[in-house]
Structures are given as C-alpha cells and as structure tokens.
Amino acid sequence: MKRIYVRPQTLRPVPMHYCPGCGHSIIHRLIAEVLDEMKLREKAICVPPAGCAVLAYNYLDIDMVEAPHGRATAVATGIKRVRPANLVFSYQGDGDLAAIGTAEALHAANRGEQITVIFVNNAVYGMTGGQMAPTTLLGQKTTTSPFGRNVKTEGPPIKVCELLAGLGSSAYLERVAVNSPANVKKAKSAIAKAFTYQLRKAGFTLVEILSPCPTNWKMDPVAACRWIDEEMMTVFPLGVIKDLPC
C-alpha cells in the first residue's frame, strides 16, 4: 500500500489551540510540508509574531526566536546576517506587519534582506479580539470600527505586496489564500518558491496569505471561506505581484 498522506515530520503531533476554521493551522502545515520536502528542517529558524501565532513554536519543530510586536523582520535581519547559511523566515499577521511593524518590514525589503516573510492577512486583530487592522476592508465592522471602516477617517486597507513591490530589493511577492483546496495547493507552491529564492540569495521574499478568521468575523468556517472569495479578493487580488528572475 502506498502512503499518500502523513503528518509532516516538522509538525509536532499535538492538538493546536487555534479556533475552528482558522487558517493558521493550514499555513503551519504547509510550512512544515515544504520544510520536510526541501529538507530544510535542520536549517530553518522562524521568528513568530506577537498575536495568535506566537505559539507557533508549540507546533513547528524548528529553532524559533520570538520577536516583540512588529519587530520580526528586524529580529530576522539580525539572525540572518549572523547565520547567512540558515533559512530564516518570519511569520506575521496584518497588525504586526502592516501597522506596528511597517517600518521594519519596508526597510528589510528595501535592504534586500535574504529573509522570507509569511504574512497572514485576515483583516482583523485576532488575538486581541477582532479590532480593526490595517487590512480591514472598507465597511467591514470590527470591535473598533463598529460602524464599518470609513475611508474618510480610517483610510483604505493597506496592500502590503503592492506597497513593497515598488522597492528595489524585494525579489518575490505573491498573494495567495487558504480558503479552498486549490488555493491551499497554490499557497504551498508560493512558500516553496519563496524559500528557494531565499536560498539563492535573490533578495527579500514575502508570501501574503488571505486566511479566514471565523471567530472574529462572526461567521461559520464555510461562510468565512466564501467571504475571502467574494469580498477580500476584490480588494486583495491573488497572484504574483513581483518576481525578479534569479
């Protein structure tokens, strides 16, 4: 008999704390699969964020260094410059990367740091209870935008990939989603491509992943996946935003 589905070696056999229907568990698994397949588990160093995924070190069986909120790309920079032979990636949410850590992300990209950012965009602050994020959609209700995000007072959602694409030393930026089997497969390919680019020293790489947060969106998981298709993707279209050949 041929085994076609096994738990990746890099994913610890423990139950996850994530809510039902949350995208983090899928993304963790994709990272674990890619690290296994590329034989990078013993080379990888991850910088988890402040937020729901801070406990990533309970699930991914690799070296980890926690970062203060928003500083993951700065911490990753320090690690990678000392250990250029390692695979260094940060795992960050939308608040972490696009609000409190914008300066760090933008400058790491501009310096062309040889790191990868796994950017999980779920349009809200998850851990703190569903406040408005820099990527919250216009009209989207959150606990701190109770009447819906207003373009006049809160501005439009920030498109991170498009923002970073203009910087000279960003090498590969792609937006994917984990709301359907087909999209999950594409997300995995994007992660693998980003890691490959990093090992080839192509420059800064980032994979933005549209990810459901049913709890804070106050939806059931199926509706949350549909909302990504129908609402999020109209603002955050999927696809390769930048790909410098390397």
């Binding site: 588990r41 013993e42 080379k43 990888a44 160093i45 910088v47 801070v54 070190y57 069986d61 690799i62 070296d63 980890m64 260094v65 926690e66 970062a67 203060p68 500083r71 700065a74 911490v75 990753a76 920079t77 320090g78 690690i79 990678k80 410059r81 000392v82 250990r83 390692n86 695979l87 300066a103 760090e104 933008l106 400058h107 310096r111």
Partner: protein
C-alpha cells in the same frame, strides 16, 4: 596595543571589536555619531562583521536581539531619546536572557532636550528602563581608558550572566580625546552557548522567548532572574575610593561628574591639607556600591552627592545610608558641566558648615 590618542566613542568601538563584537546596529543621534561611523568602516575588516544603519532605534535593538539569539556578540549605541526607544528590546532581552551591550552617551533631557553632556538617564538605566521586573548591569566609565576597559569587560559580563549590559557615558566622555591602551584581543575562543539558534541539526529545536502564559512558570522565571541579579550584586559591584580613609565628608559622583569632583578634591586638599574629604565613585551603577557607602560611615558623617542632573543617584545614596549621615546634593541638570573650581567652592562651604556644627 600601543598607547594612542582616541575619542571616547572610538575607544568604545575598538574595545568592542577586540572583545569579539562582530555586529553593530544603530541609528544616528548626537553626540555619539562617531561611534557608528567608526564601526561602519572597521567592521568591514572583521570576518563575519555586520554593520547596519537601522531605520530606527527600535529596529536596531531588535537586530541586536536577533544577532545575539544567533550567537554573535552585538553592540548598539545611542543617546538619551534613542535609548528610550530601545527599552522595548532591552526588556525583551532581559526576559529572554540574551546578552547584549548598549552604550548610552547621555545628553540633556527630557524630550529632545539638547546635545550637551548630562547624567539625566540614571533612573532609566538603573531601574531597568523598560517594562517588567528586571535589572541590567550598568557600567559608568570616568575616562577614555575606562571606556575601553569597561566595554571590553561588558561583553564578558553579558555572556556570563546572559544579560544586557549598558555603558552609561555622556557627551563629554564620548567627545573627549585621551591617551588610551585598547585591551588586547582575547586569545581563548568565546564561551560555547548552548541556547542559541543555528538550525536544529542533530539536536532538539531551541526556542528563545519571553512569553510565559502560565502564572506559576512566570513567577518561577521572575525568581530565577532575581537570583541571578543577587549573584551579580554579590560578585560584580565595583567602585573607586579616593582619599576616603580619613574622610569626614565624602563626595559621591560617577562618570564625568566624578572627574570634576576629583579635581575639586585635589585642589581643596592642596589648599588646606587638614581638610578630610574624599571621593567614592561608583563604577557599577547597578549593582550600586551600597555596602561600600554604608561602611564609609566609620569615618564620614556627611556626604556630598554631585550629579549632572536634578538628583537621581542621590536616592540610592540615601537608601544605602539607611537614614544615617547627612546627605547634601549639588546638581547641574540641562547639560551644564561645572568647573572643578565651582564645585570646590560648593564642597568647601558644606565642609566648613559641617565642622562648625560639629564644634557646637
């Protein structure tokens, strides 16, 4: 190495290199810009040398955090407003027990203040500075030679105790040129670190973190840190005593203020050889030389605390004396550096006042 004429900032940078520092991350701010400028050049000559002019002090300290977690000896430097921004990273490194060396070349404050020499950041440096229950080692050099010696030592202290160490200088010390002998590079290899990240090859993965959600575990971590701090207090407290054996009045000052005080005391003793005054100069501000100050009560009744601030270290002197002795304070905040003559007049006034009170 031979004796050479160097700026305080350059001596700090070169001593760091000789101590095995391979990484510098910083952001420009006066009066310490000569330090990153020196490093930008010098680190290109060091194998594995890393220099980054960061986008902010926040980024710089977090790059230090990453480099330290990866096993390198890392340095950052700034001046007062920039050090406020670094407090986030310092607190995290204290919690994660990561070594680092941070130089604060203090200037006048609060706020943007000015760029003149000051000692206004004593509280911030010695009370941790960031959030949470922690301490860092604070070294206060008083000359360019001592900047070099203490910086060299700071890296060993940081590694020994896995703790951030701050060199607390001021604009005067940073800009001063003095003859200095830079410590010789260490011959023996740096101590092995069993906690750093390097990829989990042939070993269990390592996690460097400060998040401890379980309250009992967090309490135990706090007590573990506390025991470490106690050990540092016992082993690493340093101070200099100058003419204190017979002193009835002891001047307590650190850094630039202590240099001025020494000059004033020399002058006063020369003018009046019967004048029984001395200087106690804390070299470690944390741990503070509490015991030495208390023991000086065997000869002294009066203490003259001089700081280039409105009065911060004076609190530690009062705590050390536990209500005994009389404590006088002379402070010059805002970037003013008094001359030894000015200070001498003020010390003499207190001294003769003390003598008159004693006679009565």
């Amino acid at each position: 190495m031979n004796k050479q004429l160097m700026y305080g900032t350059h001596a700090l940078a070169e001593a760091a290199i000789q101590a095995g520092c391979t990484c510098y991350f910083g952001y420009p701010i006066t009066p310490q810009n000569e330090l990153p400028e020196y490093m930008a050049q010098r680190l290109t000559e060091i194998p594995g040398g890393v220099f980054i002019q960061a986008e902010s002090e926040l980024a710089a300290i977090n790059m230090v955090l990453g480099a330290s977690a990866a096993g390198a000896r890392a340095l950052t430097s700034s001046s007062s407003p920039g050090i406020s921004l670094k407090q986030e990273g310092i607190s995290f490194m204290a919690g994660m027990e990561l070594p680092a060396v941070i130089a604060n070349i203090m200037r006048g404050g609060p706020g943007l203040g000015n760029i003149a020499p000051s000692q206004a950041d004593y509280f911030q440096a010695t009370r941790g500075g960031g959030h949470g229950d922690y301490r860092i080692i604070v070294l206060a050099p008083g000359s360019v030679q001592e900047i070099a010696d203490l910086t060299f030592r700071a890296f060993d202290l940081a590694d020994t105790y896995r703790i951030p160490v701050m060199i607390l200088g001021d604009g005067m010390l940073g800009q001063l040129m003095e003859p200095v002998i830079i410590p010789k590079p260490r011959q023996e290899p740096l101590p092995e670190k069993d906690y750093i990240v390097s990829g989990a090859q042939g070993r269990q993965p390592r996690v460097i973190k400060s998040l401890i959600l379980d309250t009992r575990e967090m309490e135990e971590h706090n007590w573990k840190l506390f025991r470490k701090y106690q050990l540092i207090q016992q082993r690493e407290t340093r101070w200099e005593s100058y003419l204190t054996d017979d002193a009835e009045l002891i001047v307590i000052a650190y850094g630039t203020a202590a240099r001025i005080a020494k000059g004033a005391i020399k002058r006063l003793r020369k003018d009046d050889p019967n004048m029984k005054i001395g200087l106690l100069r804390p070299i470690t501000l944390w741990p503070f030389p509490t015991k030495a100050i208390k023991e000086s009560l065997s000869t002294a009744s009066d203490y003259f605390v001089f700081e280039m601030s409105a009065g911060q270290m004076v609190d530690d002197v009062l705590l050390s004396l536990e209500g005994k002795g009389r404590v006088h304070f002379y402070g010059r905040p805002g970037g003013i550096v008094p001359t030894p003559a000015e200070l001498a007049r003020s010390i003499a006034r207190r001294y003769y006042q003390m003598k008159r009170t004693r006679k009565r």
